[in-house]
């Protein structure tokens, strides 16, 4: 207090003090990094634009409105050669989402079954699961896709020698042909009844659970819901005077016409993605179950629960907390791996958009940027949904 340092000394001192403050330092370095990153991207983007202009390459997304002029084998929305490149983007995107969604559903089911099976007390079941998991995990996915595709194709008969069930379902090298529904007036009421039945069965399930909690009385939820979901739409169907008819596939010229078809490219890719990812999911499920303390199963057993009940009510709910985060990664992997579709000609986003469209237009940077943005968006969306689910399942401490 006695010494009065000059004001100049004082300011130098406080500057030094600020510099040695870890918070201030952290902030300064972060600002430097952010400026560096922005500068880097500014440099490569402006450089790319300069190079494109120098070389006389057209830029921009104007090509999205041009006529595409090429055919695509499978599309969920209406598409033919006269649609635009923008439309091919949508077609490819929907095909990617279709294969990813189907893959995620089937891989989850198969993965859970295999994961639980590997821990089974039954020697045979656990060994079968082990062999399956170790085989699938250790063979590159691309080889598996090729295997399934060419195995599928080689095993199937030509259109004229199709394997068939009656005159409705045909299987040949071009795909699995099935009757498709034709919607006539009044059909929307049947669809509405179907949706209502599904919502109804959810309500029943919730009510039954609450009742069981309160009174201990179980309720046959499964059979009642099944009956509701089948009978209600069926009843409406007849009441409305059969407004839905079927369009049967028929052999005309080279191929079957009419009905709907599952192409072998889709089947092979789906099988490969499902079996491959399921092996990883099985390991995640196994580790999740093993993470639940043994005391929990013993406690469940001492309550008189069967092994199935113990798994369903005690073990799996606790294991889910460990399972969900790595499971999310597998879902993301499956979505990204679906881009290998191009190897066998399944028309996904990479094949249709980053492949054909890119080559017809030559707009490499725009097309690749857009494709990357799509995968990023799908991944982030999956991630967010799974995080919400994870939060719901997380341990709530009371």
């Amino acid at each position: 207090m006695a010494a009065h340092p000059s004001s100049k000394d004082n300011s130098a001192n406080s500057l030094r003090k600020i510099w040695f403050d870890p918070n201030v330092r952290a902030l300064v370095f972060q600002i430097i990094v952010v400026i560096g990153v922005i500068g880097f991207f500014y440099y490569i983007i402006s450089n790319a634009l300069f190079n494109l202009e120098q070389r006389g390459i057209t830029t921009g997304f104007g090509f999205m409105n041009q006529t595409a002029g090429f055919g695509i084998i499978q599309s969920l929305v209406e598409y033919d050669e006269s649609h635009t490149f923008g439309r091919t983007f949508v077609v490819g995107l929907l095909n990617t989402i279709l294969i990813s969604a189907l893959g995620i559903i089937f891989a989850t089911i198969l993965g859970f079954i295999m994961g639980v099976a590997r821990l089974s007390n039954n020697w045979l079941i656990s060994r079968v699961a082990t062999v399956y998991i170790e085989t699938m995990r250790n063979i590159p996915l691309l080889l598996q896709i090729f295997f399934w595709y060419f195995a599928v194709l080689r095993a199937l008969p030509s259109p004229r020698q199709s394997a068939h069930i009656g005159e409705a379902v045909f299987l040949n090298v071009r795909g699995l042909y099935m009757p498709s529904p034709v919607m006539e007036a009044g059909s929307n009421i049947v669809v509405f009844a179907f949706i209502a039945a599904i919502i109804g069965s959810f309500i029943i399930a919730k009510w039954a659970k609450r009742r069981q909690m309160a009174t201990g009385q179980p309720f046959p939820v499964f059979s009642v819901s099944a009956a509701l979901i089948i009978l209600l739409p069926l009843l409406t169907f007849f009441v409305m005077g059969k407004p839905i008819s079927l369009d049967y596939p028929a052999l005309k010229g080279f191929n079957f016409q009419g009905g709907m078809v599952i192409i072998p490219e889709l089947a092979a890719l789906l099988v490969a993605l499902t079996t491959y990812t399921a092996a990883f999911i099985a390991e995640i499920v196994r580790s999740g179950i093993l993470a639940v303390s043994k005391g929990q199963s013993e406690a469940a057993e001492s309550l008189g629960l069967t092994r199935t009940q113990a798994l369903k009510l005690v073990i799996i709910p606790q294991a889910m907390r460990v399972i969900i985060p790595p499971l999310t990664s597998q879902y993301l992997n499956l979505t990204k791996n679906s881009s290998l579709a191009t190897a066998i000609g399944y028309p996904d986003l990479v094949s249709v958009f980053m492949g054909t469209t890119l080559n017809q237009t030559g707009q490499a940077i725009e097309v690749i940027a857009l494709t990357m943005a799509v995968y990023l968006t799908i991944s982030i969306t999956t991630s967010i949904l799974m995080n919400i689910y994870n939060k719901k399942m997380a341990l709530v401490e009371r």
């Binding site: 060419f150 010229g253 094949s351 980053m354 030559g362």
Partner: protein, 341 residues
């Protein structure tokens, strides 16, 4: 390998972003001379046009264009490094500077010439799109193909012509699109499609790749014009001239009876046309920025256009394609090179 394909395409696009800011105009020629070799983009394997032989040496009509350019620029036809490219990767590879010249059965179209930053240097093969079917099918004309499943290689003009042809004739088709010509053939053999469509020259080349070549036949219809030729980057006129005139030198050489066997004897020739090709008189190599012996080197090391044609796709090759429209103009074909003078 396929995974690689996409990585390559992506890398090429990124390369465009990072490529040195200097304009393309300052010299591919200097660049090639400094490197000491020519980087040439070819197909992933198409017999007769660009295909590695049993020893891994690339051979074919398109490969000979690369060799001619290397002979003209570096004086040695063997100083070429080949980059196999799928149809989808080829333009990006050229745009980004990964290759110096693209010589890969590529069709010259307005879009490609005007909006992709590319320049076509000439036509080394006049082709047209055709159809190959299994003989079992009992089809004799493309007009009977309504409802057929068609195997195609993705990202080609073929894919567009096919759609046009079927629409014009009120027919339907199911496109089965593969990445490489090998996969296309496999799909065709497995019975996934009834028809394989491609440029006719390629159909003959792919047919000999089938397990049983006799089981398939090429239909008579040709549904499009496919002028195929070498491509370079836009904005480098000197380089465009070099590639253009390397091709013209080969065609002129055939016209004046030059070939690799008689090149040395012909140095004594008194025919002014021959003397100009061999760089003994006339404009020589100055305008192109090349050695005066550029023409001689091409003729001596690669041969004339006719030599190349016979050796790779014509009567001296397993393909046995007739000269047809690819004959010289004086023999009734389209091949016509401007004079070297």
């Amino acid at each position: 390998m396929l995974k690689n394909t996409h990585i390559k395409a992506a890398v090429a696009a990124v390369a465009l972003a990072f490529a040195a800011n200097a304009s393309a105009a300052e010299g591919t020629l200097e660049n090639v001379k400094t490197k000491g070799f020519l980087q040439c983009g070819v197909s992933t394997g198409l017999p007769g046009f660009s295909n590695p032989d049993a020893d891994g040496n690339w051979q074919g009509l398109d490969v000979d264009v690369c060799r001619a350019v290397a002979a003209a620029v570096l004086g040695d036809a063997s100083k070429v490094k080949y980059t196999p490219l799928t149809a989808k990767e080829r333009f990006t590879a050229l745009q980004s500077g990964e290759i110096d010249i693209l010589s890969r059965n590529t069709t010259w179209t307005l879009t490609r010439d005007s909006s992709l930053g590319l320049n076509f240097a000439g036509v080394n093969y006049y082709d047209g799109q055709g159809f190959m079917v299994s003989k079992e099918l009992g089809v004799s004309s493309a007009k009977e193909l309504d409802g057929a499943a068609v195997c195609i290689q993705s990202g080609t003009t073929t894919e567009l012509n096919l759609a046009d042809y079927f629409r014009e004739h009120g027919m339907k088709y199911t496109p089965v699109v593969f990445d490489t010509s090998d996969q296309t053939v496999k799909g065709f053999e497995a019975g996934r499609c009834d028809v394989l469509t491609s440029d006719q020259s390629q159909l003959y080349a792919l047919r000999i790749k089938l397990a049983k070549p006799d089981s398939a036949m090429v239909l008579p219809e040709i549904i499009s014009k496919e002028p195929l030729g070498p491509v370079v980057r836009q904005g480098d006129d000197q380089w465009l001239n070099i590639v253009k005139w390397s091709l013209f030198a080969m065609i002129n050489a055939e016209e004046y009876g030059l070939n690799s066997a008689n090149a040395d004897d012909m140095l004594k020739s008194t025919n002014p046309n021959v003397r100009r090709i061999l760089g003994l008189e006339g404009p020589k190599g100055k305008g192109l920025g090349l050695d005066d012996k550029w023409g001689y080197n091409i003729v001596k090391q690669v041969g004339s256009y006719g030599d190349s044609f016979d050796r790779n796709v014509g009567k001296g090759s397993p393909l046995g394609i007739a000269r047809g429209v690819n004959a010289l103009w004086k023999d009734g074909g389209f091949q016509y090179a401007p004079p070297i003078r």
